[in-house]
């Protein structure tokens, strides 16, 4: 391993206090994850292209947010109340962002993206309010909150990511209007390749951090 790799790993694995203990030993995981750089993250799929809008209602190409940096992207809808769904994803992104908050050198190499798949309700204003709940903890790498203008725009993006969205055709009235989906977040390399996909049972922040570090080490090679 090059000396630079060690320095880089040290930067990522030096969050403050108890967090560092958790990350290094995998204390909350029940297993010790393989060390960054000792395994390969496969090139699973190309990240899709599409048109999105930011919280300032400006249209952007999605690839602006999925290339050039290592990106952790989650698909959510703002009114989701499933504790194992969108709120969990956004919380974990905030937790991860907090862990690397102090490492300003990494801010230029990482980004977080939260993209809504509910254009009917998640306007730029709603996404701005949603973002407010997650951006209070320090600076960290950039975290972009995006939505689309229509289903026509979000559909190909959902298909491209392979993100399922389901609707119950039977059930209580409470379920009406809900968009149940299997929690997914995507780790994307700087070239736009999806390198890992996380669902509820695989969304372990320590492992995600190791995966980010593995991609960072890969870039150094």
């Amino acid at each position: 391993m090059k000396a630079g790799f060690v320095v880089l790993a040290g930067l990522l694995f030096a969050p403050s206090g108890a967090q560092a203990k958790d990350v290094a030993k995998g204390d909350e995981l029940g297993f010790v994850p393989p060390a960054p750089g000792t395994y390969v993250l496969q090139h699973i799929l190309r990240s899709p292209e599409g048109t999105v809008i930011d919280v300032d209602n400006k249209p952007r190409r999605l690839s602006q947010f999925t290339t050039g940096k290592i990106t952790l992207l989650s698909l959510i809808y703002a009114s989701c109340s499933d504790g194992r769904g969108c709120p969990l994803a956004s919380h974990l992104l905030r937790q991860l962002r907090g862990w690397i908050d102090k490492n300003e050198k990494l801010h230029a190499r990482l980004r977080f993206v939260t993209l809504s798949f509910d254009p009917d309700n998640d306007t730029p204003e709603v996404m701005r309010a949603y973002a407010d709940g997650y951006l209070s903890d320090g600076n960290g790498p950039p975290w972009h909150f995006l939505t689309t203008r229509s289903r026509r725009e979000i559909l190909p993006v959902l298909r491209g990511f392979g993100q399922d969205v389901w609707i119950a055709t039977s059930g209580s009235s409470e379920q009406a209007g809900k968009l149940p989906h299997l929690l997914k977040a995507f780790l994307i390399d700087r070239y736009g390749w999806i390198r890992e996909i996380y669902t509820t049972s695989f969304f372990q922040p320590e492992v995600v951090l190791n995966d980010m570090n593995t991609l960072l080490l890969e870039e150094e090679r």
Binding site: L92, S136, S201
Partner: protein
């Protein structure tokens, strides 16, 4: 970037405090034998049983097909075949698996090595063949796609054999859900590994994957009577299980498990750290469990039936609470129930002859319904009067299996009934912009 609101942050923090940070994966496990990565559970009454069926020459169209049986007792067509999709050829249809989003069913042919992808989300009552992958041997060198195991956005496919010598040395092929080949992983042939493959089962909370081992194409396509008399051929069965680092996809430990260990089932009980498998040729149930030091160990913990009579345990199905295990034995047509309260000392508490030959067994999440299918392999199935082909549904009250319905696959001119998966009409894709638009798409 956007500005920060202190008030909304406090609200969000309080809201999130009520959620568990890392959710038990087993809370999202599907009908007990499926990958824990599969979402959209069927925890209530299933509507359909999908049956991957081997074609029989001169019976119906003679081709392999996906058969849909209505399994909802409130339906007018309960217990009837309501749909079938022929793939137009006969290639030794065997196992199938759902993608993590439960939109697609992947099904394989052990002889022709084709992989068929059926869409079951747009109309769960009428699966459609949407893709055929025909280049597994050319791209990987593996043949006989057996197990289809869902990983996030991917399907891990276990081969049984290879294209060089049709022997048992093989590997796993990783595809994305769109059908693109992502990577291959050869089964280990060093450090005690025999290179054979059969089933795949993961425990994400332990970051481990377990594989088992069967035999190569030369054997599984051979006439069964001829095979058992061929002493040399009988030497070529798997006798290992492999523990893999799931994240790294690297083998970490190889267990000696003689006698062709087949299906693997992890206990779904939160906190449990063990799996079981049945070795077909030795009729032993094996336990793979962490010891006090956290090291993984394998040990034979029970006989299944009378091993001296070679009952040939085949499929197994574990209850959602990890306390019980169904085991089918092919030769004597028996279905056994083992109490797994102490997984190191399983005890058989029930058995029943459920057919003249029985192979696959699946149970509903609540354990109240049990489905049994007859076929093992085209050239291993019994013949004559013993060669019945069926799916039988039973109700289980904890004491007795009571027949609920039966579909005779010979009378229906369907073929040999093999692997089964459960389906539901309760879930459909939102944002569907195609025919049969979902309610949401019209919103």
């Amino acid at each position: 970037m956007v500005r920060v609101s202190t008030a909304s942050t406090r609200f969000a923090a309080a809201w999130l405090a009520s959620f568990t940070l890392v959710v038990s994966p087993w809370a999202t496990a599907d009908e007990t034998c499926n990958s824990p990565y599969i979402g959209n559970l069927i925890k209530g009454q299933e509507d359909y049983v999908y049956v991957w069926t081997l074609g029989i020459k001169s019976l119906g169209d003679g081709s392999d097909k996906l058969v849909t049986i209505d399994a909802n007792p409130t339906s007018k067509t309960y217990g009837k075949v309501t749909h079938k999709v022929s793939v137009g050829r006969r290639g030794e249809a065997h196992h199938m698996g759902l993608t993590d989003d439960r939109r697609f069913l992947w099904a394989g042919g052990l002889d022709d090595s084709k992989i068929y992808v059926f869409d079951i989300s747009k109309d769960p009552a009428k699966p459609r063949l949407v893709k055929t992958i025909s280049d597994l041997p050319a791209k990987t060198g593996y043949v006989g796609p057996h197990t289809f195991y869902a990983l996030p956005g991917r399907v891990l496919v276990q081969g049984l054999s290879n294209s060089k010598d049709d022997g048992g040395v093989t590997g796993m092929a990783l595809y994305n859900n769109q059908g693109g080949l992502v990577a291959t992983y050869p089964m280990p042939t060093e450090g005690g590994g025999d290179g054979y493959g059969y089933d795949i089962a993961v425990n994400p909370q332990k970051n481990v994957l377990l594989t088992s081992s069967f035999t190569g194409r030369k054997n599984y396509m051979m006439n069964f009577g001829k095979l058992v008399k061929d002493a040399e051929a009988m030497k070529h069965f798997g006798s290992t299980m492999v523990l893999w680092d799931l994240k790294a996809m690297k083998p970490t430990k190889i267990f000696s498990v003689p006698g062709a260990p087949l299906e693997i089932r992890w206990s779904l009980n939160p906190g449990d750290n063990w799996a079981v498998t049945a070795a077909a040729l030795s009729s032993k149930l094996w336990l793979i469990k962490q010891d006090a030091k956290g090291d993984w160990q394998a040990q034979a913990v029970a006989d299944i039936g009378d091993p001296s009579k070679v009952p040939l345990p085949v499929d197994i199905s574990i209850s959602a609470d990890g306390k019980g295990l169904w085991v089918n034995t092919f030769m004597d047509g028996k279905t056994h129930y083992l109490d797994l309260s102490n997984p190191e000392k399983p005890v058989q508490t029930y058995e029943k002859v459920t057919g003249k030959q029985v192979n696959m067994i699946s149970q509903s999440w609540d354990g109240k319904r049990v489905y049994i299918a007859s076929s093992l392999l085209a050239n291993w199935d019994k013949t004559g009067a013993d060669g019945e082909q069926f799916v039988r549904a039973f109700n289980w009250d904890g004491k007795e299996l009571a027949l609920a319905f039966e579909v005779d696959f010979i009378n229906e001119k369907l073929g040999r009934a093999h692997h089964m998966k459960l389906g539901s009409k309760a879930l459909k894709m939102a944002f569907d912009d195609g025919p049969g638009r979902s309610p949401l798409a019209n919103r």
